[in-house]
Structure formats: structure tokens, C-alpha cells
């Protein structure tokens, strides 16, 4: 509080906030606690680091940053160190990171006592605050990033509640650069404010007066928009994909008439995450919708990915991706039309595959109906943006040549921004090889002579095609092994094609001009499209054609850098002046890129609204740096639509927020929710008059507040937060048995419905129940449904009433209910608690707690540790937080054949990670799991799909 009290920044602190709006915002933040929503690209991180530095410089603080991800942590740490070096503040200590990996309980306690700025993983922070390791009263202030993610039941809200209960004086500032989630739902802003315990919100859209003034002054950045038309076949593919999307959506509407699907149309399909929107709408009924609907929803994701990769990838890579998608979605043998993805049955799907192939190669028309050999000829369509990019670079070149050398501070560097690392690699490849001619030149020296040869990607595309053909051959084999069954069906469908039809009149197989002739070709018996594999003869020919013309060009491969070589190394060879830097968009990181590269020219290969703002901020912040931006996009494409709608949505969101702020009633007091509630009330709530008229009160309620021992891993769910909200003391412990211990006899294992299904599947639940019965008298299984989802289980798989449907032999394939039946039969004393939401669970817990005494945390921790057969007790010393396991690698290991819930612990305790297990030999694994299992594990990893057979 000492630092926040002085409203003026302390004198020696040097800030790096050159623009008016940044300074105003900073002043505001120093004076008040508030939620800041800043439009993306306006430099949120810069503001935060400056703010943190101003506190850091004052010293003697304990400031906690909540919700920062790895990248942000790195940035904050770097920026604080830099600031400290610039302003020469002796008391600044920089950022301390706290995540379990490297800090133990003891060292954390010491670090907290020393003070400074901490960025702490939420799960650790909440446990530390509850256990008193970090005393909330000693915190000077909290900074919350990604405030839009704070919901009532989230861990962050829980942290803030604990903080505000104990500490009224410390400051609390929340930040967000994503207004969208704050503007959806019912009075979302007010709700968020309540969750954040804040009363003031400060909104800074791009159209804010100060922002606009700062960015639209004399020093405006020069932007040149270039609309690039798509090629005919790209448009055809896009239309075909859109048709598939439309049909899928119609199919959804048909099978789910009860749902509100007003805005499920093609337009929303263009949005970035329409599949998520659909998913969210279906969520309340997710257990109950048909398998087919689920299939369609996942199809939508695939189709959306296709739309993007069609624009981003080159023709060959796109075809390769389609092949993979196709193989993964291939129909399982014996499946019928009903169980297939509907879009695979459309003509449009056919168009997608054939058109994508035609962009890469097509068959030549050879006269003579009796030549049975199709010959293929490479087409290798180039992405239209490549040519434009080359033109732009040329123009810049001319510009640099004719105009006087730069008088400003910029480097004369050309910065090319694109959406991801893959595109980066593609562009680099292209730029390196665009003047390499496969056929004509033999001299490397003729490399740079733009006047004579037009840039083309032929060289690169040919190389890609060669790789593709090689890959395809292997892929055919792999997929034959993986999907052996399907394969048989496929060959059954493809081979007769030749026999039945004789020599095809049109050599372009699967491209059917309009022929009734080919209507059945390339399709499986059930009507879905067959995977296409060229005959070896065709491939060889195509290969030969690419190969021969390549021979001269091949010599140059030494000159051309290895495509997989590290980018940094590659570019270090050059002088900053004539450098072309290609970089992917990386959110806030881009500011660093701009500052470091100081580009004179920027080419935005793909549109990104935030980056344009970043350039504006960059330009306005530096008087002496001129910037010209070229902005490329495909006209009439999904890309363009997406960009426009993103801009529009952000604007709408801000408008909504401003409206809500205007009408928001500010009667909310933080006390109502965050302050300690009336102790008397809390006390009365714990009395249950049904039991001896509240007579038990003296022992249970007054002596100590109600208490629940919670496993630290359970802090991912919202239940601990809700229990705490009901005035129950949470004791976080590392539990081996159970998730929640309510009393000395009652222990609860919590399962969400999806958890329940998966833990039945791998047998985890069975062993967990066994363990609970070893240590507690009244174990219970809490089946918790989601708040917003329906409170029913999936309907029975088979209600037909046939005798076989209930036969015991079928138990393995039983549905969820059948498994519940088995579980209760196996554990007749296991109680099942059904809860429709986490809120309900909290209520149920409270009721159960009123029955009995308080649990003993030490006993709870110890349960399962002594005499633990499967864990090797010696390696797991008692006490909280000693041994924490990473879930993901363990889950992966659990899926390896030969690994069972019994022997998994042996492996995990001895080996380091998956990589190590994968490289172990049978002999090494033998002592851990036994011979048979070791052989299985080894076989699984070593099985080589390319060599076998």
C-alpha cells in the first residue's frame, strides 16, 4: 500500500510510455483500482511492465501477478530487468517465477518473506494462500492478467476472494485485451466486475479519443492494401468446402430440431470459430445427442481447418493434408451410410479432392483408347500471393535504388509477417528459390537478374512434389497397415474400376465431367469416396518427369539452405541493412519484433487487425522512423471475411461494454461478496437443529469451523472454491486416497461424467474404490454433472429389450449405466451422490458434514501411503506436496499395450519421461514390468510401418 499511496511516480523511475493515452492510463492505474480493457495491439504488456516497474523500483513490496502465461512471464521478467538497468534503481528485484517444477515448499516460504514481484501459477497460489504459506495480509497488491477469463467459479476468482477477505488495503488491478467474452451473455460486465471485486472499469477501444489522437497525428503509418485474386481452382475448392459446411449444418438442424439454430448459417461458418459456437450450443445436451451429430460437429472442425490450409499451404502440402484427413476419416469396414461423415458423400467432397489433385498434377490426354497406361504430368499451381510478394519486393528494391538513402532511424529492413511458422518456412523457401529455374539456367551467378526471369516457385514446387510422391508411397503402406481392413474395401472398389470400365475414356479419374459413366468410380460400395492411390507405374512416370528436369537444378541444392535449418542462424549471416525478415504473428511479442528489427517496409502476408495497430503505435512512438506497410489478402476469401468480422466484432463488443458501463448500477459493494460475512451468520449456518436441536454445536461448530480436506489436484475444479464460499475451511493436502475427506469416516471421489466414462474404461475407478474402502468406513462416489449441461445420463445404448442386451457376457461392451450397476455390485457399501452442478455438490457436502466430526488432515494424507503396494511406499515420503505427477505423460503411458494400472507406477518411478521409455529395450524394461509386458511395450514403440512387410 505504501507504494500505491504516493500518486506520483517515484522520481528516479524512467518509463517507456511515449504516447498520450498510455501516460493517461498509467496515471489512472497508479491512482485507482480498476479493470482495464484495452483493444488488442495497443500495447497492454508494455503498460503492465511499466506499472510493475514503478512498484518494483520502490522496493519493499510483495506483488503477485495472476494469470500470466509462460510467454508473458518471460516478457515481464525481461522488461523489468531492462527497466531496472535503465533507471538504475537499486531496490528493483525483477520478477520471481513460481511454478511447482522448481520450487519446493520451504524455498517458496522464504521467497515470499523476501518480497518482490511474483508470478505464480494459480493452482499453487491458491494452495499457498490457504495453507498460510503466503499470508494474504502481507501482499501489497495483485495484478490480474486475462481478466476476461475470470468467471465466478474460476480459480482466479477464488484467489481474489481469499485475498480480499483478509486484505482490504492492498491494490488490485485487472487487465484484459479481449473485450469479446466480456460482452456476451447477461450483464457480463457487472458479473465480471463482481468476480474481480472491482468497481471501476476503464475502456480503451481504438476509437477512444486519446488513442485516436495519439495514433492519427502527423506520424501516420503508410498502408497499401493489395487484394490478390484467388485462382479458379482455389475458388472452386473454397466453394466446395462451403457447400460441405452448409450441408453439414443442415444435417445438424434436421437431426436436432429442438435447438435454437437461428444463426447457424454460412455467414457464421466463415467466422473463426463457428465450430466452437455450434459446440457450445449443443453442450447442454451433449450426452444425449446422437453419435451422428457429434460426428458432424467434429467434421465442421475439419472443414474449417481445410478452409484455412487451402489458403495457407501450397498446393502440394494441401493435397498431402487432404490425403491424411481422408485416411483418418476412411469408413470402417462394414459401416453403413448412417455412421459416416455426411460430407464425404457429397459431390462437393469429390470436387475438393479432385480439384486439389488437379492443382498438383493431371493426366495428359493421350490419344488411343487402348493405351492403358495413364501418364501424369505435373501442374503445380502456385499460390497467387507469391507472385505479388515477389512484385512487392521488387518494387521496394527499386524504391531503395532510386530514392536517397534513408535519413531516419529505421534499418531499411523488410519485415514480412505471416500467420504461423509453417507459412514462414514456405515463404522463405519461396524467396530463396524463386529465381532458380529448373530447366534453363545452369549458372548460379545469374541468380539475381529480375529483368530476365520472372520469379516462380517451380523449383520449390518440384522439390515438394518429389517429396510428396515419396511420402505418398510410404503413406500407402502405412495406411495399409493401420487400416488394413479399410484398405481391402478400398482396393476392392478401385481395382474393378479398370476391369469394369476397360480403358477409361477420360484419363482424369475421379474427375467426372458429367458422365453417368464414372458415377460409381472412386466410391466405395457404401457411396463414400475411396482413398486414391496411384498405380506404381503412374508414380514412376511422374517421378521420372520431375526428376529429369531437375538434374541441373539439383547442383544448386548446396547453395540453397537446408529447409530445416534454424532460421536465426540463417539470417545472422546478413547485414541489417538489406535484410528480409520473415516472422509469424505472436500476439504481444510482435512489439518486440518491431522494436528490434526497426523495419522500413512491412509486408503483411496475412491480415491481422492487432498487428496494424501495433504498427500504428510503433510509428507514433518513434518520430524518426518511416514505415510503409503492404497488406496482402485474397479477395472474396474466407481470410478476408474473417479479418473484417474480427474487426467488426471487437468494435461491437466495445460499444456494448460502454453501454453497459453507462447503465451499470454501482451499488455493488465488495463487502457483499468478498468481505468476511457476519461471523454470527456463518456460525448459525453450521448448526443443524435437526440433530439434538443443535446440541452438537458445542463440539463441532464453535470449537472449530467446518473443515474439508481437499486433494491439491482437485483445485482444477470449481468445487473447492464453492466450498470456501460457503464458509468451510479448505485444507489442501496431497491425498493418495480420495479427493475430498469430509469427516473421519466419509471420503469422496469426485467424477464428472466424462471422467467417469474414462475412469471406467481404464479401470482407475475400481482401484480408487478399493483404496477408499481400505481406509474409510463410508466412501462415496460423487457423480457431478455440469452446471450448463443436462442432468441426465446418455440414454441406454440398447433399450430393445432383447435378452442378449443384458446378458452378462456382454458386460464388457456395456454402456455407462451397466458399468454403474457393476460398480455397485462390486462395492455394495459404496454410496453414490448425484449432483447436477458443482453448486449442488457444495450443498451436499455441507449436509453430509453436519453429521459427523471434522476430518484429520494428517490421517488423510497418511491414508494409502503406508502399506501401499502399487506405489513403492519408500519412494513417496509422507507429507503434503511431496510427489506430484504430470498427468499427460502418464495418460499416454497408460495407453501403451503392456502397461497396466498395476505396473505403471513401477515405470513412472524409475524412468524419466516417455522418450526414455520409448528408447528402452526389452531387457531394460524386463525388471520393471516383466518379460511379456516389456516385449509388448517395446514392440509398440519399435513397430515400423515403413519397413515391415
Amino acid at each position: 500500500m505504501s507504494a500505491a499511496g504516493t500518486s506520483q511516480p517515484v522520481q528516479p523511475v524512467k518509463l517507456s510510455l511515449p504516447l498520450v493515452y498510455q501516460q493517461k492510463l498509467f496515471e489512472e492505474l497508479r491512482n485507482e483500482d480498476e479493470l482495464v480493457v484495452l483493444a488488442r495491439g495497443l500495447g497492454l504488456m508494455r503498460l503492465i511492465t511499466n506499472l510493475l516497474h514503478s512498484y518494483d523500483a520502490a522496493g519493499n513490496n510483495l506483488i503477485v501477478v495472476v494469470g500470466a502465461d509462460d510467454r508473458e512471464n518471460a516478457w515481464i521478467g525481461e522488461a523489468l530487468a531492462e527497466h531496472a538497468a535503465i533507471s538504475l534503481t537499486p531496490r528493483a528485484r525483477g520478477l520471481t517465477l513460481v511454478n511447482t517444477d522448481y520450487t519446493s515448499v520451504g524455498s517458496r516460504e522464504k521467497m515470499y518473506a523476501d518480497g518482490g514481484i511474483f508470478s505464480i501459477t494459480s493452482r499453487i497460489l491458491v494452495v499457498d494462500m490457504l495453507t498460510g504459506l503466503l499470508n494474504p495480509e502481507s501482499i501489497t497488491g495483485m495484478i490480474v492478467l486475462h481478466a476476461d477469463r475470470v468467471t465466478a467459479t474460476s480459480l482466479e476468482a477464488f484467489i481474489l476472494r481469499i485475498y480480499r477477505q483478509k486484505n482490504k488495503a492492498g491494490f488490485l488491478k485487472a487487465f484484459s485485451d479481449n473485450p469479446d467474452p466480456l460482452a456476451t451473455g447477461f450483464s457480463p460486465l457487472a458479473t465480471t466486475m463482481r468476480n474481480l471485486f472491482l468497481r471501476k472499469v476503464s475502456l480503451w477501444p481504438r476509437f477512444h479519443v486519446h488513442v485516436a489522437q495519439s495514433l492519427e497525428g502527423k506520424k501516420k503509418a503508410e498502408v497499401i492494401e493489395l487484394e490478390v485474386p484467388m485462382t479458379e481452382s482455389m475458388r472452386t475448392i473454397q466453394n466446395a468446402v462451403m457447400e460441405c459446411v452448409e450441408v453439414s449444418i443442415q444435417e445438424l438442424k434436421k437431426s436436432n430440431p429442438g435447438l435454437d439454430m437461428e444463426d447457424w448459417n454460412l455467414d457464421s461458418a466463415l467466422l473463426k470459430n463457428f465450430d466452437l459456437i455450434v459446440r457450445r450450443q449443443l453442450d447442454p445436451n451433449w450426452h444425449r445427442i446422437s453419435w451422428k451429430t457429434k460426428q458432424i460437429v467434429s467434421d465442421l472442425t475439419v472443414l474449417r481447418g481445410m478452409l484455412h490450409s487451402m489458403l495457407a499451404l501450397d498446393a502440394v502440402s494441401f493435397l498431402q493434408q487432404l490425403d491424411t484427413i481422408h485416411a483418418a476419416h476412411a469408413p470402417t469396414p462394414g459401416s453403413t451410410r448412417q455412421t459416416q461423415s455426411p460430407w464425404l458423400f457429397l459431390d462437393a467432397a469429390e470436387t475438393i479432392f479432385s480439384e486439389a489433385k488437379r492443382r498438383v498434377y493431371s493426366s495428359t490426354q493421350r490419344p488411343g483408347p487402348d493405351t492403358n497406361i495413364d501418364s501424369l504430368r505435373p501442374v503445380l499451381e502456385e499460390q497467387p500471393k507469391w507472385a505479388v510478394l515477389a512484385e512487392v519486393l521488387e518494387e521496394i528494391d527499386r524504391d531503395l535504388f532510386f530514392e536517397p538513402p534513408a535519413r531516419d532511424d529505421s534499418n531499411g529492413t523488410i519485415l514480412i509477417m505471416c500467420s504461423d511458422a509453417n507459412t514462414c518456412r514456405q515463404l522463405r523457401d519461396y524467396l530463396q528459390t524463386m529465381h532458380v529455374k529448373p530447366r534453363t539456367e545452369k549458372k548460379v551467378e545469374e541468380f539475381y537478374d529480375p529483368a530476365r526471369d520472372k520469379p516462380s516457385a517451380a523449383f520449390m514446387m518440384r522439390r515438394k512434389l518429389r517429396n510428396y510422391l515419396r511420402w505418398k508411397r510410404e503413406f500407402a503402406q502405412v495406411s495399409a497397415q493401420l487400416f488394413a481392413e479399410n484398405q481391402r474395401a478400398v482396393t476392392g472398389a478401385v481395382d474393378p474400376r479398370l476391369g469394369r470400365r476397360g480403358p477409361p475414356p477420360n484419363k482424369r479419374r475421379r474427375v467426372r465431367g458429367g458422365g453417368a459413366v464414372g458415377a460409381a468410380a472412386g466410391r466405395l460400395e457404401n457411396g463414400s469416396i475411396a482413398q486414391y492411390f496411384e498405380k506404381p507405374g503412374e508414380v514412376a512416370e511422374l517421378m521420372a518427369e520431375v526428376q529429369i528436369t531437375e538434374e541441373e537444378a539439383r547442383q544448386k541444392e548446396d547453395v540453397v539452405a537446408d529447409p530445416l535449418e534454424d532460421m536465426d542462424d540463417y539470417y545472422q549471416l546478413y547485414d541489417m541493412q538489406d535484410l528480409v525478415v520473415i516472422h509469424p504473428y505472436e500476439g504481444d511479442q510482435d512489439e518486440h519484433v518491431l522494436e528490434e528489427v526497426k523495419p522500413r517496409y512491412i509486408i503483411m502476408y496475412e491480415p491481422d487487425a492487432a498487428f496494424i495497430r501495433r504498427v500504428e503505435v510503433y510509428r507514433s512512438s518513434h518520430n524518426d522512423r518511416n514505415v510503409r506497410v503492404y497488406f496482402l489478402y485474397y479477395g472474396g476469401s474466407v481470410e478476408e471475411q474473417r479479418y473484417l468480422s474480427a474487426v467488426r466484432r471487437e468494435k461491437d463488443a466495445f460499444t456494448k461494454l460502454i453501454k453497459e458501463r453507462a447503465s451499470m448500477s454501482l451499488t455493488i459493494t465488495t463487502d457483499a461478496h468478498g468481505g468476511p460475512e457476519d461471523p454470527q451468520e456463518a456460525f448459525l449456518r453450521t448448526i443443524n437443529t435437526r440433530i439434538a436441536g443443535g446440541g452438537k454445536l458445542a463440539t463441532s461448530a464453535t470449537a472449530q469451523p467446518p473443515r474439508v480436506v481437499v486433494d491439491v489436484r482437485e483445485f482444477r475444479s470449481s468445487l473447492p472454491s464453492l466450498l470456501h464460499g460457503r464458509g468451510i475451511t479448505i485444507v489442501p493436502c496431497m491425498l493418495t486416497v480420495g479427493d475430498y475427506v469430509l469427516s473421519p469416516t466419509v471420503c469422496v471421489e469426485r467424477k464428472s461424467v466424462s471422467d467417469l466414462i474414462s475412469s471406467f474404461k481404464d479401470g482407475r475407478l475400481y482401484s480408487q474404490c478399493e483404496a477408499m474402502f481400505q481406509h474409510y468406513k463410508n466412501p462415496a462416489l460423487l457423480i457431478e454433472f455440469d452446471q450448463n449441461k443436462s442432468f441426465t445420463l446418455e440414454p441406454f445404448a440398447d433399450l430393445s429389450g432383447s435378452a442378449s442386451s443384458v446378458s452378462a457376457a456382454n458386460a464388457g461392451a456395456a454402456d455407462l449405466q451397466g458399468k454403474i450397476v457393476l460398480l455397485t455390485l462390486a462395492f455394495p457399501k459404496l454410496r453414490i451422490l448425484w449432483s447436477s452442478s458443482p453448486y449442488e455438490s457444495a450443498e451436499i457436502f455441507e449436509r453430509l458434514k453436519s453429521l459427523e466430526g471434522e476430518p484429520d488432515p494428517i490421517a488423510a494424507v497418511r491414508a494409502g501411503l503406508d502399506g501401499d503396494e502399487e506405489g513403492g511406499g519408500t519412494l513417496k515420503p509422507g507429507g503434503a506436496q511431496q510427489q506430484i505427477f504430470n498427468q499427460v505423460p502418464q495418460d499416454m503411458l497408460g495407453n501403451v499395450p503392456g502397461v497396466t494400472p498395476k505396473n505403471i507406477m513401477n515405470i513412472v518411478l524409475v524412468t524419466e519421461n516417455i522418450k526414455e521409455v520409448a528408447n528402452m529395450t526389452v531387457e531394460e524394461l524386463d525388471p520393471l514390468v516383466g518379460k511379456a509386458a516389456a516385449r509388448k511395450i517395446c514392440g509398440f514403440f519399435a513397430k515400423d510401418l515403413l519397413e515391415d512387410e
Partner: protein
């Protein structure tokens, strides 16, 4: 559909108390034979298993009824199922109370949302009377392809198509596990996020170091 059987308490049929006459659940009991019998519980599902039937609608009108019934069972069966039909929208209060009751009185609550579902539970209890528990002790998928896909798709973001692409470009899993991030990102469909998730999962230690 009262099937003639050899005698009372025969092993293969569900015993139904005459109190249940008129319960729509009986109409849905199709795949397992049942017969009326004079038993304490509503349904006898085996030597050690019985079930009491409770409709929440009825429970709301007569909250004391179920306690009497549970008391009358006198702890006779090993597994006492309280088969509850959720037929009212505001079930929260009643369920909270039943949860507590189940812990206090030692009955197991099983919820059903329709008469057909309730009947199915009864049938399953009878059919599984002598079944083994292998089905819930965890069994593993059979084929290499399934296991492979399951293994690769554990980290979030990675889907089936990615798994196929990964193995098809590296040949074996061991190669895929040992590949560098750069090599993996050359696989079609593997974007930055997926590569990072995969590498993290493969290299992340099983145990968190202190």
C-alpha cells in the same frame, strides 16, 4: 407377463412385491422374467441385492414414506438400491436429502430419468448378479492402430488425422518420439501448438521434481 416358474425365489427372475402393481416400470421389464412375490423390498434382484423404488413426485408428497421402507428392510440385504425416478423439474432439494439419507442409512441411490431406464437398471442388476467385474477393471483396446491413435491423441489439440500423419512420416513411434520439434513441424497438419504440446508431453518428466 408372469412367467410360470419352478418355485418361489427362483434364481433367474426378478421378484416383485405386489405393492408395485400398476407401476409403469413393470411394463418395461422385458428381457428378464419377473414374478410377484411377498418380499420386504420392492424388487428382489438376487440373494444379496434388492431395490426400493421411489418416484420423486411421490416423495415430495410423502417425505416420510421412504424412511419407513428403509427401516423395514432391517438391513437384510447386502446391496440395497434406492432406485429413484427423477420425474420433477426441481429435484435439487429432494436429491440433497436423499444423498444424506443414503449415507446415514446405508442405501445406494441410483437415478433414472424414465420408466424404461429404471426397468433397464433392474434388468441389469439381475443379469449381472453373477457377472465378473472385468468390464470395469479396465481393459485395453485391441488393435495397434487404435492404441497408436489413443497414445498420440492424449495431449490436447492433437487429433486422429495428426496421429496418422505423424506415424506415416516417421514410420515408427520411436522415431516420432525422438524427433526434434523442427522435424515434426514439417509434418502436414502439425502447427506450432501441436508440436509444442507433443514435445512437452514426450519430454515432460513423469514426476515433478522438487
Amino acid at each position: 407377463q408372469v412367467l410360470p416358474t419352478g418355485g418361489r425365489g427362483s434364481g433367474s427372475s426378478i421378484l416383485v412385491s405386489p405393492r408395485q402393481k400398476g407401476n409403469p416400470v413393470l411394463a418395461c421389464l422385458k428381457s428378464v422374467p419377473w414374478e410377484y412375490s411377498d418380499i420386504l423390498a420392492d424388487y428382489g434382484l438376487g440373494l444379496t441385492t434388492c431395490a426400493l423404488f421411489l418416484s420423486l413426485k411421490y416423495h415430495r408428497l410423502h417425505p416420510e414414506y421412504i424412511y419407513t421402507r428403509i427401516r423395514n428392510l432391517q438391513g437384510k440385504y447386502n446391496l440395497r438400491v434406492l432406485l429413484t425416478l427423477v420425474d420433477i423439474p426441481n429435484h435439487e432439494d429432494s436429491l440433497r436429502e436423499l444423498s444424506k439419507t443414503s449415507v446415514v442409512n446405508g442405501v445406494t441411490v441410483v437415478l433414472a430419468w424414465s420408466a424404461a431406464e429404471a426397468a433397464r437398471y433392474l434388468e441389469l442388476y439381475k443379469a449381472y448378479e453373477h457377472a465378473g467385474f472385468a468390464a470395469i477393471r479396465g481393459q485395453q483396446a485391441e488393435g495397434y492402430a487404435e492404441r497408436l491413435v489413443e497414445f498420440v491423441t492424449v495431449p490436447r489439440n492433437i487429433n486422429k488425422a495428426d496421429a496418422v500423419a505423424l506415424v506415416s512420416s516417421f514410420g515408427s513411434l520411436r522415431h516420432a518420439v525422438n524427433a526434434t520439434p523442427d522435424q515434426i513441424s514439417a509434418v502436414s497438419g502439425w502447427g506450432e501448438k501441436k508440436v509444442r504440446a507433443w514435445c512437452k508431453a514426450v519430454e515432460e518428466p513423469f514426476r515433478v521434481r522438487k
